[in-house]
């Protein structure tokens, strides 16, 4: 029986959104969990996942359509071999889709805006009865083992998937896997398969998409940190003198500000490349990569260009600690116009990050190290760090990237602009 897929509400307050992109085409077979389309609101991009399997019979709302009201039918799902009914002829008007938070992607060390908690297991479903019926225990075990419940046959009352069903799958599955993939042959010392977390899956998918679709290029520059560190010492001493020890500035706080200053100077880097045109952003919303035990997330310091160092510092501290505690709200890690990934604390010499789409650039910051520098005709010792800007070449050209890096270097080496 044909069922309509409805425009999902991404949040309780959402009334309409943009159907950004159809991931599946008419005629595509879909199974539960497949991403059908991407929906955008002013706050976030979310994916619409299929709950049922079937064939995407007809797309009712073209991609790129804005202002699609929640619960508007956006497509019709049919069973294999079934004729696609005329528009409006479907019986049920239940949603076949769930929205899951989409995640602007990431850099190698850190930068995925993934939800810290596992995505809720899809539950509600349509009049076709294709809803997955499983016990809570079976759902949990399936999640722990990375099993897709849609592939499990239920043996409980009315075909309910129960514990023994998911246990049985585990027992029978490994044989086939080994046969299918020599590449996964265990090492001689023994190997163990750790099922992916939702965050790991999101990282894998988003970064693969970025590397596959975004033409990257990389530009590096050395930046001397001594002036910035001297200013930081003064500002921290001043704060301490005022009895305000809570806001000790970090180098990272100042580099967030320096990036924002550079973005204001070279605003074409503060952009998204879209098919329709370049989306230039007014504010510098800086995504900062925070590593977690199992993955990473990019909370956003919004309007960093118009905030004081002290405000940035307080905000960054709060975001980072809540990111590690898994307590960020979606709007705190979804969006952003530019990313920073700082691995200075790990002593790395230099590295290049992967662009976090739809952003156009990400700055990889390596460790500051004391080294001899030629100044005029003399050799002096300076603290130097190498930063590398990874850029979406569709949005930003090499010369622009170099301009941006110079603006950034100027902001760091003549840091008074950070406090003005």
């Amino acid at each position: 029986m044909a069922t309509e897929i409805l425009m999902p509400a991404l949040s309780p307050t959402m009334t309409e959104g943009k159907l950004a992109r159809w991931v599946k085409k008419e005629g595509d077979a879909v199974t539960s969990g497949d991403v059908l389309a991407e929906i955008e609101t002013d706050k976030a991009t979310m994916e619409v996942e299929a709950i049922e399997e079937g064939i995407l019979g007809r797309i009712l709302i073209a991609e790129g359509t804005e202002g699609v009201a929640v619960n508007t039918p956006i497509a019709i799902l049919v069973e294999e071999g079934e004729a696609v009914p005329a528009e409006g002829a479907t019986k049920s008007a239940a949603s076949t889709a769930v929205a899951s938070p989409n995640t602007p992607a990431a850099a190698p060390q850190a930068a995925v805006s993934a939800p810290a908690a596992p995505a809720p297991v899809a539950a509600a479903k349509t009049a076709t009865g294709a809803r997955i019926i499983a016990s809570p225990l079976a759902r949990r075990i399936a999640r722990q083992k990375g099993l897709d419940l849609a592939t499990v046959k239920g043996s409980g009352p009315n075909g309910r998937i129960v514990k023994r069903d998911v246990d049985n799958v585990q027992r029978s599955a490994p044989k086939a896997e080994v046969a299918n993939s020599a590449a996964q042959a265990p090492a001689s010392g023994g190997s163990r398969l750790v099922p992916h977390t939702t965050m790991r899956k999101v990282i894998a998918r988003r970064l693969t998409e970025s590397k596959a679709n975004v033409p990257h290029f990389y530009v590096s520059i050395d930046v001397e940190l001594d002036a910035l560190m001297a200013l930081r010492a003064q500002l921290n001493a001043l704060a301490e003198g005022e009895g305000d020890e809570g806001v000790k500035l970090s180098v990272n706080d100042m580099l967030i500000k320096a990036s924002a200053v550079a973005l204001k100077k070279v605003p074409t880097v503060n952009a998204y490349f879209t098919e329709e045109g370049m989306l230039l952003h007014e504010d510098a919303d800086i995504s900062i990569a925070v590593s977690l035990d199992d993955g990473l997330i990019t909370p956003i310091v919004r309007k960093a260009d118009s905030k004081s160092l002290r405000e940035i510092s307080q905000e960054a501290k709060s975001l980072i600690s809540r990111a590690r505690a898994g307590k960020l709200k979606p709007e705190e890690f979804q969006g952003g116009t530019f990313s920073i990934s700082n691995m200075g604390m790990y002593g790395v010499k230099d590295f290049a990050a992967i662009v976090n789409p739809p952003q156009a650039a990400i700055l990889a910051i390596a460790a500051g190290r004391k080294q001899p520098v030629v100044s005029g005709n003399e050799i002096k010792i300076a603290t130097v760090m190498t930063v590398t800007l990874s850029v979406d070449h569709r949005a930003v050209d090499g010369a622009t990237a170099a301009q941006w890096l110079n603006a950034f270097r100027t902001a760091v080496q003549s840091p008074l602009s950070l406090v003005l």
Binding site: S135, P136, L137, A138, R140, I141, Q144, S155, G156, P157, V162, K163
Partner: protein, 470 residues
């Protein structure tokens, strides 16, 4: 000429047999029941039900002697023992005739007599021979036969019930008068309930158990609380005990009991032997068939099939746990399978067990020790009824609720309860276990306040570090 050819003949009209017949009738199978004694079997007539009627009387007696704490005063409280026993019999009789009525309504004929398998007809139908107390035996034909002949008390040599000094459960249910001194051998559910009944009626009771602890199938902690509470009530308990031969005198019986390295002679008015049961496998025509018997129980597969096609065995006859509700559930499953329905085998770890002593005991699933033996890393939650408002208000503060969860998956592996009303509450955990709820759903469940059942919620929270009221 009444009908003698059926789709299904059930031998035995207990909670296995009569339920099988009712379900078969619902599913449109022509069905007959063969019953030698009373419809309702041991459960209704000599087990579950009449003991509950007696235990109710003993609870009332206990309460009447504990009125002061509630602000009451009653003098010269007494009871008429014959009336108490008569009430118990009346309850059984009422239920047994209720079963008779249900079968009549379902149009299931009952053949009164002793049924046995008697070979196969020329066209492959099972023959069941019904021997009657009077008159000629009768042969029934059936496509399928369910054996549901139940079980009876196991009798130790030297402890044969004699109606005078040595009782099985049967004599213990219909005493002529209250024994003053009583020895109960065996502390399973049956022995413990009789010990509790007679003690609460005022008898001097000694309970002996061969195992290291009473109620040996229950969780160790529950056993320990029961032990302490029974001793507080004045029951003398001897564990790791070995008994000698009873020496019967004119007025009393003496028996040597060896426990704790000492041997003593205990002299009592009556001895109740409650040392387990044996299946009724004799004279039901198993000889010469492919039906196997292992230690007095018919061997079956998970769908109650025996070695003979078309012959099934359910309930106590088919083995442990010896519980009426297990028999009834097997009956339904077995009949539905015969009718071609898709059925689910019984998982014994989802069958609850209840003992109606004071305080009551109820449990389902793995004990903490057995879960560990099975290789689970467990999370255990405990909540004492002393911290429960309703229990205190009722004047029933003794008790504990204990949950055992699988740390890896949040599966409720088992639940163990001792205290007031726990036999009425265990079903909550059984539903959770059967429906495969995890600690998450149980934690999110809103329990009514004030109830003793709130402790069940707290015991779940406690397993995850968050009991609120303890």
């Amino acid at each position: 000429m009444s009908q003698t050819d059926f789709d299904l003949v059930v031998i035995g009209g207990g909670p296995g047999g009569y339920v099988a017949a009712l379900r078969a009738a619902q599913l449109g199978l022509s069905t007959a029941v063969v019953e030698a004694n009373h419809l309702g079997g041991i459960c209704l007539n000599w087990g579950c039900i009449p003991t509950k009627a007696l235990l109710r009387a003993s609870e009332i007696n206990h309460l009447l002697h504990d009125l002061d704490g509630y602000g009451f005063k009653a003098e010269a409280v007494s009871f008429d023992f014959k009336k108490i026993v008569a009430r118990s019999r009346a309850v059984s009789k009422q239920l047994s005739s209720g079963v008779s009525h249900l079968l009549k309504k379902a149009k299931v004929p009952v053949f009164e007599g002793f049924g046995k398998l008697d070979g196969v007809t020329a066209n492959g139908r099972r023959k069941v021979l019904v021997s009657k107390k009077t008159g000629a035996p009768q042969t029934l034909n059936a496509k399928n036969v369910i054996l549901a002949t139940g079980a009876r008390a196991r009798i130790l040599p030297g402890l044969e019930p004699d109606g005078q000094f040595i009782w099985s459960y049967r004599e213990a249910l219909v005493p002529e008068e209250m024994p003053k001194r009583l020895l109960v051998i065996g502390s399973g559910a049956i022995g413990t309930e009789f010990a509790s009944f007679y003690r609460n009626m005022g008898a001097e009771v000694t309970l002996v158990e061969v195992a290291p602890r009473i109620l040996p199938v229950e969780d160790e902690e529950i056993s320990a609380i029961a032990h302490k509470e029974f001793e507080k009530q004045g029951i003398r308990i001897l564990t790791n005990a070995k008994i000698g031969s009873p020496q019967k005198g004119a007025e009393s019986v003496s028996i040597a009991v060896e426990a704790g390295g000492k041997t003593e002679t205990i002299t009592v008015d009556k001895i109740i032997s409650a040392v387990g049961i044996v299946g009724n496998v004799e004279n039901i025509g198993l000889e010469g068939t492919k039906i196997k018997v292992d230690r007095t129980h018919v061997v079956t597969d998970e769908l109650c099939r025996t070695g003979e096609a078309g012959v099934y065995a359910i309930g106590d006859l088919a083995g442990a746990p010896w519980l009426a509700h297990k028999a009834s559930h097997e009956a339904v499953m077995c009949v539905e399978a015969i009718a071609g329905k898709h059925v689910h085998p019984i998982d014994v770890t989802k069958i609850p067990g209840c003992t109606y002593c004071r305080p009551q005991i109820a449990s389902v699933g793995y004990t903490e020790a057995r879960a560990k033996e099975a290789g689970y890393k467990v999370r255990v939650g405990k909540f004492p009824l002393l911290a429960n408002g309703k229990a205190l208000a009722m004047g029933e503060p003794t008790g504990l609720i204990k949950t055992v969860f699988d740390d890896a998956t949040g599966e409720l592996l088992g639940a163990h309860m001792i205290g007031a009303e726990v036999t009425e509450m265990i079903q909550g955990y059984v539903i959770a276990r059967t429906g495969e709820l995890t600690e998450a759903e149980l934690s999110e469940t809103i329990f009514p306040h004030p109830t003793i059942s709130e402790s069940m919620h707290e015991a779940v929270l406690a397993a995850y570090g968050g009991a609120l009221h303890f």
